[in-house]
Each structure stands twice: as C-alpha cells, then as structure tokens.
C-alpha cells in the first residue's frame, strides 16, 4: 500500500494533514483529514475572570480574532444576565460585519480565486495570490487590498485597539462612535459595497462564464450530501451576529431550531483516535452513523454554503439578487456542491458590506447609550454566532464571582470535520487512478477542502482526557481496524 501525504502546515497556526491510502492497483483505498496538534484553550481559560475571556480568546487565532471575541462577549452578557442597549448591539454588529468583509476577502483572493483565475492545473509557483495579482493586474490587486484595509480600519476603530479588539464589556460596548467617525465609516462602507460587487463580477467573469469550471462547480466530484446549520432572523433571512440556529437534513427537511444552551439537544460530538478534531453530528437524527453522506446521514456542514441552504434570503438588497441567481443556477435546494462555498462567500461579503453601510447610516449608531450595567452573575452563558467559516459556539460556566470553571468551544472547522473528510475521499477517488499522482491532480484533491477554509488553530482546543493520541487507526468498510500508524 502506498501512502500520499499533503502537509498543509506553513507557519505556526495549526497542524494537520491529509493522508490518502492507495490499494495495490494504485487506486484510492481511503483518505483522511487529520489534525495532529491541539491548543487547549478550553483548559487555559479555567480560572480566568469571565469578563477577560473575550480579549483572551481573540488570540486563539491571528486571523479569526474577531469571531471568538464576538461569541465570547455574547456569552459574557448571559453570564451577567444583561442585554446591550440597541446602540451597543449595533456597534457590535458593525464591528462584526466589517470583520466579515476583511476575512472573506482574504479567503476568496488568497485561497479560492487562484484555482480559477490562474487555473487548477497551473504550477503551484503561479497558483497563489501573487500569481492571481499577476493575472488580474496590479491595479485590481491594489484596489482590492486597499478596500479590504478599510474594513480593517472600521474593525480597529470600533475595537479600540489594532488587530485584537478590547471594546467588549458585559452588557455592551465601551467605545462610542462620534458623528465625525460615523461619516468616515459610512464613506469606507460605501467602498466595501463596491468591493463586494467587484468580487462577484470577477467570480461571474472567471467562473460562471467558463464551461469547464462550471462543470467542476456543478458536477458530482465536489458534491458532498450532508445536513446544514446556520442562523436565521425572525423572517428566516440570514444573520451573522445573532439569530436562531436552523438545522436541516441532507434532503433539506427541517430538523429543528434552537438557541443558546439548547445546542446540547441538537449536537453531539464523536471522538476518533486518529485526530484531535472531534466529529460533531446531528443528534436529533439519531445515534452516530459514521462519516457517511446521503439520505439519513447525521453529518452536517456549516459556513457560507450551509447558510445559503438554511436561509430564505439575504437581509440586504443587492446580495439578495445574487442569492436568487445562486439558487437559480443550481436549481434544487439544498446545494451540496462544495465549490459553491466560494460563490456563497462572495455573496456574503457583499451582504456584510451592505450591512456596514446600513448601520453607519442608522441615526442610533452615535448614541451614547451603549452599555447596560450588570448587577448579578448567573454563572452560565452560551454565545452563538455565524463566524465567517460557520457556526461558532462558546459555552462558559462560572462560579458566583464570575470565574470560569468550564469552557466548551465548538468552532466552524470542527463542525465541518465530517464533510471535509468526505470531500477529500471523494475527490481523491475521482482524480487518482492507477497510481497516477501528479502535482496538478493533488491540487484537485486539495480543492476539495479549501472551500471550507480550515482553521486548525481554532479547531483544536480540547484536551481529550490528557491523552496525546498521536497515532492513526484506519478502519475498513466493516469497521475493523486494519492499520495503525504512530505519530505522523
């Protein structure tokens, strides 16, 4: 048996790899996405004053800093039994939507577009963000980066500190917005809307008008039939900062909706000995059925595509038109074609930009009533948001003084662990035949997990009983162990 490894680690942000096992004929016998590093923040947070948690968890990841900050501050509100006043909540939403724009921009331009603009079979030396800029022109690259920088400016202006925000306080926000700042944010937000429209135009020109790419996007190779979860507002429209979690099965039927601590009734987690990353599954559908797709599976996905599948529409007008075009293109709902994650991400980027503009024009956004003073400690809080990569859950227990006694973080990449494994195996089986494994073929396999935009630093926070299970167990289709490998 020959083994192929794709090692994604390039810096210190988190460690994982794909292992593909070939049979004696050179065809794919099995494939696994593994995470072989953990960070243990859940343990690290114990003993910390809960009001310090948002600032601390923002360091879980240098990229996803705003999402952990936001989920934690919502949980902290509950711990102290307070609700932010309208202006406080709107400032949080403005901050969060600006973060969405900057994050989605990076994912699309650094990760998604190079495969299409430069080409999936191009040399790796060209198939990257530098190659992308060479292809589209430095002027376009400069404009995209400059506009993305404006989203960062909004994020930092409201967050009160460069890079890692500090403005969250229990029951609100500590930094108000002056009229002068509001005008600046409005002008920047207008440019973010233009960035969203430019991005969708590039996607339209490069992907939607290219028959070969559309075959990839709408074909079966990159199709993973699982259930989905995402947040909806009272009208069923998409919402990022706060909503009700809607869960559907792989046929699109409603499994149920939940808020806060009710997540424990809907989501269970399965531990596998060969990865630090757990496998969440839909508990309401039944007991663990394995990492399988199709009708009856209780594996589910989160993120931009999942949100497109659970919502009835976008909450902003221009993005809504693209939402309609998206579903008209695929026809059936839910859409299981994972390369559509990139399209969904571009639509969401535009929607977040529109939301920034809408909030910047809200007369209430400059109110000084941005904080509700806490007066008690309930001892428990659950913060659920739609992070850019998907549903993020922060659950904390504290003592009567608000000192953290237990923390549970379920992050987007963890939710997507099952679908990622399914996607990798499917693509590997399609593209690797008779032992032929060229770099371009391997890229087609990598394209199966890039849409999820893995965040392994975020995903590996759980100390599983103090063990260090750095070994791999591979099971056959009957569930029997046939191979054990140690410490990759």
């Amino acid at each position: 048996m020959k083994k192929i490894e794709i090692n994604p680690i390039t810096r210190l942000e988190g460690h994982g790899k794909i292992a593909i096992f070939l049979d004696d004929s050179g065809n794919v016998d099995d494939a696994f996405f593994q995470t072989v590093e953990f960070r243990g923040y859940e343990k690290f947070l114990q003993g910390m004053p809960i009001e310090e948690v948002p600032r601390t968890v923002s360091t879980i990841c240098g990229v996803c800093r705003g999402v952990h900050f936001t989920a934690a501050m919502k949980a902290v509100d509950q711990v102290f039994g307070v609700t932010p006043p309208p202006a406080g909540r709107k400032l949080r939403e403005l901050f969060f939507n600006a973060h969405y724009v900057e994050d989605h921009t990076v994912v699309l331009y650094a990760l998604g577009f190079p495969d299409f603009v430069v080409g999936p079979e191009a040399s790796p030396a060209e198939r990257n963000v530098v190659g992308l800029i060479n292809a589209v022109g430095a002027d376009v690259g400069r404009e995209v980066l400059r506009k993305r920088g404006l989203a960062v400016k909004i994020f930092e202006l409201l967050g009160g500190k460069p890079s890692h925000a500090v403005s969250a306080i229990p029951g609100g926000w500590s930094k108000n917005l002056s009229e002068e700042e509001r005008k600046q944010v409005e002008a920047w937000s207008q440019e973010l809307v233009e960035l969203g429209e430019l991005t969708l135009k590039i996607f339209d020109d490069v992907v939607l008008k290219n028959d070969k790419y559309m075959e990839l996007v709408t074909g079966d190779t990159y199709k993973v039939e699982v259930g989905y979860m995402g947040s909806v507002d009272p009208q069923g429209l998409g919402t990022f900062y706060h909503g009700t979690q809607k869960v559907i099965d792989s046929d699109g039927k409603l499994v149920g909706t939940f808020e806060g601590k009710e997540y424990l009734d809907f989501i269970a987690e399965r531990v596998k000995p060969w990865t630090y990353l757990k496998f969440p599954y839909q508990k309401k559908i039944g007991p663990w059925k394995g990492i399988v797709e199709g009708p009856g599976t209780n594996i589910f996905a989160v993120g931009p595509l999942a949100r497109m599948n659970v919502i009835e529409g976008m909450s902003t007008p221009i993005a809504q038109k693209h939402f309609e075009k998206f579903h008209a293109t695929f026809g059936a709902k839910p859409v299981h074609h994972i390369l559509a994650y990139h399209w969904a991400r571009a639509i969401e980027m535009l929607s977040a930009a529109e939301k920034c503009l809408e909030l910047s024009r809200d007369p209430e956004i400059t109110s000084n009533e941005i904080w509700t003073k806490p007066t008690s400690c309930t001892g428990e809080g659950v913060g659920i948001i739609e992070a850019s990569r998907g549903t993020l859950i922060h659950h904390y227990l504290t003592d009567e003084k608000g000192i953290v006694t237990k923390a549970n973080l379920i992050v987007s990449t963890t939710h997507n662990n099952g679908p990622i494994n399914l996607a990798v195996k499917k693509a590997a089986r399609h593209f690797i035949k008779n032992g032929e494994v060229s770099p371009s073929i391997l890229n087609y396999v990598e394209m199966s997990f890039r849409p999820y935009d893995l965040c392994l630093a975020c995903a590996t926070h759980t100390v599983t009983g103090g063990q260090s299970p750095l070994e791999i167990e591979i099971f056959d289709k009957d569930g029997k162990l046939y191979k054990r490998l140690k410490n990759f």
């Binding site: 794709i6 994604p8 680690i9 390039t10 810096r11 210190l12 942000e13 988190g14 960070r39 243990g40 923040y41 690290f44 601390t56 360091t59 990841c61 240098g62 990229v63 800093r65 994050d103 990076v106 994912v107 650094a110 990760l111 190079p114 040399s123 790796p124 030396a125 060209e126 198939r127 990257n128 963000v129 530098v130 800029i133 060479n134 430095a138 690259g141 400069r142 980066l145 993305r148 920088g149 960062v152 460069p162 890079s163 890692h164 890229n443 990598e446 997990f449 890039r450 935009d453 893995l454 965040c455 392994l456 630093a457």
Partner: protein
Amino acid sequence: MEKDEWVVLGIGNPYLQDDRAGVVVTERLEALGLPCRIEQLLTVGFEVLDKIRGASRAIIVDACKLGNPPGSILQVSVDDIFSSHHLVNSHAVTLGTTLKTGIICFPDEMPKELHIWLIEVKDISEFTQVMSPEVEQAVGEVVEGIQRLLTEQPL
C-alpha cells in the same frame, strides 16, 4: 502615518511560549523609548501591509520553525521567505507572500528599507509567557541589534 519613520513590527502569539518572541522584542524596544513606531500582530496576513505601508524603513521580527538550532537568529530577504506554496487555508498566507504582494501592488508605499529578523523556536506547545532560554537569549540579541540599527542609521 509619517513617511520618514522607522516602524518595528513584532509578530507572534503573546501567550504561546517561543512564538511570542517577536512581540517581546517590540515590547522591550518600546520600553527603551527608541525613535520608532512599534506595531504588533498575531499573524502574517495582509494586516502586515497595513502596518508597514507608508513608513520609509521597517523591521519585522517573527518566530520561525525552519529546523535551525533553537535561538538561531536569521536575517532574511523577502525573496528568501517567499514561498510558492499553494495554500490549503487562508491562514497559510506566508510573510513572504504578503510582502511580495505588497511590493507588486504598492511599489511606492512599501518601505524602501526592509529588515526581516527571524528567531528559531525551541518549543511552541505550552501556553506560557516564559520562553525557552535559547529564545530568551536570542530576543535580547535581536533587541540590541535593532537598537544599534536605529542608532547608527537615524532618519
């Protein structure tokens, strides 16, 4: 942002053992009150460009894991660290890629003088603000080196 200024950017997770080396260097430089703007980041993405664009000279300090003896100090160029790796996630954008992107897109706004200092880590598995002795010593040497650079080449 002042055009004629030094900016020193430290990169790393302040809670993660040797990964915090770059951040500690900037903290110590700030305490010395040197004539430079201090910036810190936890990542090497496009935020790096936001911090250094417009400055005439920049120094970037980051931890690295390249297989050298722990505490090794490397002074590298953008080309040395530019990687053509096809990315698996957006977090894998490298410092070299970010800087190369900046040079292509913002040729007139990037620092005319760019120094990149890397410190080889020993251990990044513990959440602690205590670095390994090798990296601690290297941090001191980098602080001294940057201090000399700022003193010998004033604006």
